[in-house]
Assembly symmetry: C2
């Protein structure tokens, strides 16, 4: 079994004050055993996303430390921005990268939720794989009404938090904590400039239209290159592996007499998904993850 | 660029005395910054192979420390065994794993060779990619005559060492140091029980018979499974990538109406070769090694 590695991608309701963003990022950096991979912010959304990885317990600690800093420095009563949010630290997703299951990440969410309520007095909701109520799988349902609306809505039994009292923190609101699979942004470019074809293929492969589970897809024009693209989010490559998506797009493209020009992974991808893709095409049997030399380092 | 990682696989002329083998392995283990991956020995060959990895300088130090221990504890005048050898520490190959070129590994060989002669008084030969004379690329040519024969042969100009005097170390002989690509042991099992077909395919794909460069192949029977296998050593997957081998075997198998049942990687494989294989079959463009999440840890 490879070393357990979890990714955490918390979203904070601050995208304008550099000193506040810096303090939150520093809280992650200062936590032993975690590696900061990225942070980005958007002033219109007034929001920041931080990405870090490490062993499960260390990642949980870093998430707590960053949440604590956000609670100290962000007052949602002063916050404006286009993005839906209910808290200073708005969403904290844990993502299994290797040697860890989604269920273990859900457990990590529950542990973090408990300590966030106990020490920071924030009410906590659990979502996606960490949801403890079926109507809370979907983040948008939990965030309905935003901070302003939830102030009173939280008193209704169906909006009570999963941990804590039915009362928002006066300045920091509430937080949604959860676990979800790694999201792979994957594009397939076609030997065609016909947007209709890209849209038709996207509609055939995406889950919402009877295609593959865990696949979101759109047809796009790449005007500067004179080609079209099937642009996809693969939200669970453990359940629906990349090769299945590739082969289905190739098969659907065939009926239009179009072939795939090239594909593209945007951003990061966990090693396990590439190993699985290689294994499929190579017909590799009995391959163990720890046969990859680098997993021993 | 990924973190520079080099593998070293020194061979020692001791496969019988546990305390000597242990002392050599411990010399590797005690070197900071290297990771011992494996060690194995054969009493008939009276020989041990140790595998470790790490950053280039640390790996060079560990190789030196293990060589020093072997020179102290092994007397080739007392050594018997079936395997050809000229030294207590017989061969030291450096292998690029990631972020390092073969040329850099050759340079590492030359540095190690110099310090082995200066500090241990062993004459040194360089082979494969570290060879400084074209007639020394091949290990077997350097080892001709073994320790016993080389005692006098070394005085001939064509057998002079690349570093040091033309005289064997009285107990430890000489050492061959070099650089070579990672060797991948790769098998492809066929939907057939006809050994002739496996042999015919092996002959068509191997370099020696007009097939692919850097491929050694044999046809084998897997009697217990009722199938046959094309068993291969891929000696340079940077130059001749795995997908090319797979596709050529598939193509050659077709003429016999046979298909590939499954493939198998024996032992370790560097991540870069799997990423390249996945990239080919996915038609992945512009993918950078550091998009693999784990390379950041």
């Amino acid at each position: 079994m490879p070393t357990p590695i979890v990714e955490c991608v918390p979203n904070f309701s601050e995208g304008r004050r550099p000193e506040v963003m810096q303090a939150i990022v520093d809280a992650v950096r200062a936590t032993n055993g975690v590696k900061l991979l990225d942070w980005s912010h958007d002033a219109n959304h007034n929001r920041m996303v931080v990405t870090f990885v490490g062993a499960p317990d260390e990642v949980r600690k870093a998430a707590f430390n960053s949440a604590k800093k956000a609670v100290e420095l962000i007052d949602l009563n002063q916050h404006t921005g286009e993005h839906p949010r209910i808290g200073a630290v708005d969403v904290i997703p844990f993502v299994p990268v290797s040697g860890v299951t989604l269920e273990e990440c859900a457990k990590l969410s529950h542990e973090l939720g408990k300590s966030i309520y106990q020490e920071l007095k924030l009410p906590v909701y659990f979502y996606e794989s960490a949801a403890v109520r079926p109507d809370r799988k979907n983040l948008a349902d939990i965030r309905k009404g935003n901070f302003e609306g939830l102030k009173t809505e939280i008193k209704k039994p169906e909006r009570h938090p999963d941990v804590g009292e039915a009362k928002l923190h006066p300045t920091a609101g509430a937080v949604v904590v959860g676990a979800r699979p790694f999201l792979v942004a994957f594009n397939m470019n076609l030997q065609s400039n016909d947007l209709k074809i890209a849209k038709a293929i996207a509609n055939r492969v995406r889950e919402a239209r009877g295609g593959l589970k865990n696949v979101k897809a759109l047809g796009m024009q790449l005007a500067d290159r004179g080609i079209v693209q099937v642009s996809m989010n693969l939200v669970n490559c453990d359940e629906t592996p990349m090769y299945r998506v590739i082969e289905l797009v190739r098969a659907e493209a065939k009926r239009f007499g179009v072939s795939v020009l090239e594909t593209e992974i945007v951003g990061l991808v966990p090693l396990k998904y590439l190993v699985e893709t290689a294994s499929y095409y190579m017909q590799l049997e009995g391959f163990k993850f720890d046969q990859v030399l680098e997993t021993h380092l």
